[in-house]
């Protein structure tokens, strides 16, 4: 059955095709009386203009009132966001933000680990000094060792005195002289003039006067020498400082690259939304409103990417920490452990990652806002011609 044509508005509209029926007369328009436009709030309290028009023309329109979804059978669907959500550019931007945040977080964590490790090396070396007593013709080595223990033990600032036994000395010299030195194992240590080694533990908060100790030892025991590792400590401190400085420079470079890439990626994603900005501008949206819509969207986008990147970096540290902690016999793990310690980033590292995440997200949001405001400003001053 063919549906009858339905009268809607001033035109007769065929509901099947949506076509209008041509009106009978086309006439010149006449000026209309000047009717004051109602205030913005009022026009939504009174019946709409179209309904008023319908009433004047006598068709079966009704006076309107704000309606609920229950009236008229319309869906109560939630409205879409003004800013398109899913797009290739948005996904790409999220990935870029995630990757750069991951790299920056890794660099930050590595710098904190190296810093902590370097401080550890320096304090380890500074925590001990060594007394070496060489065997000599006509001297009782055992008595000299006892004498050195007494002198060192009486010094303020020395917290421990430990004489290395033959096995420990053999292990110490094994990289140079081989593994067969231990006399208990039938080795030939007795045949070599290996000096006795006494390890003195230092109280770093109240260190001893090593010069005085040196003089006393060398006076009482002419074959004794005191090694305070000063040269090695100096070299380690220089190396550690250099590594930390390099790490900071690398971190700053990564941060700079992150800023540039996030800014350009955001502007690229915004370029695909230029038409949305223009339409909002032409329908009378305030520039701060347009900027706010995009800022909110890109803040969430940036936050999502940054959280993924930051969490991935933290997980990487946890995995590396587990690997270095469990792979005790693995030479590679041992070298990594020597450089980075136990991969325990610490509160400073986690705080740094959290700050990075929020900084990147805010950067994305403000870049989008700035881009919108510039674009709208350009529209207001645009003098392009389409003719």
């Amino acid at each position: 059955m063919i549906e009858p044509k339905k009268k809607v508005g001033p035109f007769v509209v065929d509901e099947n095709t949506g076509e209008f029926e041509k009106p009978a007369v086309v006439e010149k328009t006449a000026p209309k009386p000047d009717v004051a436009k109602p205030a913005a709030a009022e026009q939504f309290k009174k019946p709409s203009r179209i309904a008023s028009l319908a009433k004047r023309r006598g068709w079966s329109g009704k006076a309107v009132k704000p309606s609920t979804a229950a009236e008229g059978g319309e869906d109560d669907r939630p409205q879409q966001s003004i800013v398109p959500h899913a797009s290739v550019a948005s996904t790409a931007l999220t990935l870029v933000v995630a990757i750069m945040t991951f790299l920056a977080s890794l660099t930050l964590g590595a710098v904190t680990l190296v810093n902590d490790s370097a401080r550890g090396w320096t304090s380890d070396v500074s925590r001990e000094v060594t007394v070496q007593i060489a065997p000599a013709e006509g001297r009782d080595l055992a008595a000299d060792i006892l004498s050195a223990q007494t002198i060192a033990g009486a010094m303020v600032g020395i917290v421990s005195v430990k004489v290395m036994d033959d096995a420990q000395v053999s292990e110490l010299l094994a990289p140079w002289l081989g593994a067969g030195l231990d006399p208990a194992l039938g080795g030939v240590a007795d045949a070599l003039p290996i000096p006795a080694m006494i390890m003195l533990g230092i109280d770093l908060s109240n260190p001893p006067d090593l010069d005085t100790l040196r003089v006393r030892l060398e006076t009482e025991i002419p074959t004794a020498t005191l090694d305070d590792h000063r040269a090695w400590v100096g070299r380690l401190a220089t190396m550690a400082g250099s590594m930390i400085a390099i790490g900071i420079v690398i971190f700053l470079l990564v941060v700079a690259a992150t800023v540039l890439i996030v800014v350009f990626a955001t502007r690229g994603a915004m370029a695909g939304n230029a038409h949305v900005i223009e339409v909002l501008h032409f329908v009378g949206a305030e520039p701060p409103y347009i900027a706010g819509q995009f800022q909110k969207h890109f803040l969430l986008l940036g936050l999502r990417g940054a959280v993924v990147g930051g969490v991935a970096a933290i997980i990487s540290f946890i995995v590396m920490g587990y690997w270095t902690g469990t792979s005790v016999a693995d030479p590679a793990a041992e070298q990594v452990r020597a450089l980075f310690g136990t991969f325990s980033v610490g509160p400073a590292g986690y705080l740094g990652v959290a700050i990075l995440i929020f900084a990147v997200a805010l950067l994305t949001a403000f870049t989008s806002r700035y881009t919108v405001m510039r674009h709208v400003g350009g529209l207001d001053g645009t003098v392009r011609s389409r003719d």
Partner: protein
């Protein structure tokens, strides 16, 4: 309502593209703006929409000098003007309902207050069955009617249409013209920029003809 007084527009250091424009657009008036390509129709429409300022002369929009308007007051002014583009400029990710409601939504009007108006307006332009459709599935005529509905939802005093029938066949173009006439009868001033002489011949209305930047008015 709109008054141009010795208006000229120049881009950079070149010649004026619009010169010595003197005309008024009264309330409830209907006019065509025509001329060859490059004559300056779009520039003139931009002056009417306050997205451009004249390099000389005075443009009065609703009693205000457009050159003295600050950026904060432009959105409020633009809400009194509806604009329809040749390429429709509907947002593809929004439904027709959402596109038509956009001018009210960006002003912060609650949806419950405008829902009925939007639906009635879509019915008025013959798109009641397409309320939840997206522009990509609509024909050119349907998209243009939706664009007209969006331009009208805020009840503008002036409607500007830049080549509104440029992407439509003659039949649809005539139908759209009927819509504009009906709008004008309900009190909206209408300015249609067009090349389409056949369209203009259907209505006995004022013609503003641009040629080499100068305007001739034929009532």
């Amino acid at each position: 309502m709109i008054r141009f007084d010795e208006v000229g527009v120049r881009y950079g250091a070149g010649e004026e593209v619009l010169r010595d424009l003197n005309f008024t657009i009264g309330k409830g008036s209907f006019q065509f703006l025509t001329g060859p390509s490059g004559a300056g129709k779009t520039s003139l429409l931009r002056l009417l929409f306050a997205s451009m300022k004249p390099t000389r002369g005075k443009v009065e929009l609703f009693g205000q000098d457009s050159a003295m308007l600050d950026r904060e007051s432009l959105p409020a002014l633009r809400r009194r003007i509806g604009i329809v583009f040749q390429d429709f400029r509907l947002l593809e990710h929004l439904t027709l309902y959402e596109n038509v409601a956009l001018p009210l939504r960006v002003r912060g009007v609650e949806e419950v207050r405008y829902r009925r108006d939007v639906i009635d307006l879509l019915k008025w332009v013959g798109l009641s069955a397409r309320i939840h459709a997206r522009p990509s599935v609509l024909s050119g005529g349907e998209q243009q009617r939706a664009a007209v509905a969006r331009a009208l939802i805020d009840q503008p005093e002036l409607l500007l249409a830049d080549e509104p029938t440029g992407n439509l066949d003659p039949t649809l173009a005539r139908r759209l013209l009927r819509l504009f006439i009906e709008l004008n009868r309900s009190g909206t001033s209408v300015v249609i920029a067009t090349h389409d002489l056949a369209l203009m011949d259907q209505v006995n209305a004022r013609r503003m003809v641009l040629n080499h930047g100068r305007l001739a008015i034929h009532d």
